[in-house]
């Protein structure tokens, strides 16, 4: 089982490497495309008070006890769109009882069909791994690959907003 995971990851990093060396243009202008819809204010405070009660992540997430208020219900936080040279990567997390229960990639580079194909494969794997690594209890992450760079950046900002 473990070996399968590792070889998958190796394949993906190979693909990501290819992608990262591909010199296609980056489109998006330098103006920060900051996510809409979530608490994107400057100097946001932490501690769970800055929740953005955006509609909870519909897809696949279990038992999204939609609705409001209580600390046991799922809440979503949308990370900033991290600009990579291939385009923006943005994730949305669902938090329940201070645990990430779902991570949805709401935006990823998709200039051409090949990017879409690669990302539709690579990003769910990143999601799964990020969820399993959350027990690492880390304050910050150093270094990253191309896709995970944008991914980790956006994820970090969502985690910061959630005050986890």
């Amino acid at each position: 089982m473990r070996r399968i995971i590792v070889s998958c990851a190796a394949t993906i990093s190979g693909v990501v490497l290819l992608l990262s060396l591909k010199p296609h243009s980056t489109a998006t202008t330098s103006s920060a495309s900051i996510s809409t819809g979530s608490s994107q204010s400057s100097s946001s405070t932490a501690g769970g008070t800055s929740a953005s009660p955006s509609p909870s992540a519909g897809s696949s997430s279990s038992s999204s006890s939609s609705g409001s208020g209580s600390s046991t219900s799922a809440r979503t936080f949308t990370g900033t769109a991290a600009q990579t040279r291939f385009g923006p990567v943005q994730v949305k997390i669902t938090v329940k009882n201070k645990k990430i229960t779902n991570i949805e990639v709401v935006e990823y580079p998709s200039d051409n069909p090949k990017d879409q194909q690669i990302n539709s494969y690579a990003l769910p794997v990143l999601n799964q791994e990020a969820i399993s690594a959350q027990s690492a209890q880390i304050d910050s992450v150093s270094g990253a690959t191309y896709t995970s760079d944008g991914y980790v950046s956006s994820l970090q900002s969502a985690i910061d907003q959630a005050g986890l």
Binding site: A10, P23, S30, S140, A144, S148
Partner: protein, 282 residues
Amino acid sequence: MTGTPLRHVEHVMGTVFSFDIRDAGSGARRDAVQGALRRAVDRLHRIDELFSPYREDSQISRLDRGELALDACAPEVDRVLRACAEAARETGGWFSDRPAGRLDPCGYVKGWSVEEASRLLREAGSVRHSISGGGDVQTVGGPAPEQPWRIGIAHPLQPGMLTAVVAGQDIAVATSGTAERGAHILDPHTGRPATALASLTVVGAGITRADVWATAGFAMGPDCLTRIEAVDGLDALAVLPDGSRRWTSGFPAYAAPARPTPDPADWRSALPALSAPGRPTP
């Protein structure tokens, strides 16, 4: 009383800067720290305006095109270019502010801008904060008294996974990797992309210097560990393309102790190998 942490995320310089201030306090003190945070964010945008090689109108771009004289630039442009020259000397020519021919001091500016932001917070009295600029992390103090910051090192070959966790107070951690910057980190001697390492993480006191050495050492390849071993105050962890790891003699002191985990598939399974005695084998 330190109050609730003050966190802020800013998109600038083509990446995400993340602030985590643990001693923001409350009342007037919080206002002061918040003011410093605003100044730090403004400073980052100002640095981007001056130094981005991706902006046609930045002073660096205009300087490179010969449209602007150095003495007409902002004073920090000259300071940064001098610091780049010093970094090139210190690394034996393995750091360059013209990695691809045109003027591009990004290898220095990112780390330096994190340190600048941290300086502004310290001037407002903060002694417990962590700032990450696109994966370059500067910590000041600890998250709480007697507690270390914990910084995950992204696994270069398994996206989303960690290869180690570094812990400490007042430490800076910079990582260079193939996939993120494969087209960026060029061997200044051959002009070709460096590929001998999958990633190099450098730990030190200041992020500017750690970042310079992560960039230069990545171009050097595995031999960089011997060089970094000889540099006071720096340690490093290298991941080779085959996934094996090497480190300087001081690095294990930063490796965070393993914690019990219900999930056998996560990163901690990698730690026993790290805590075993190991010297770089150049």
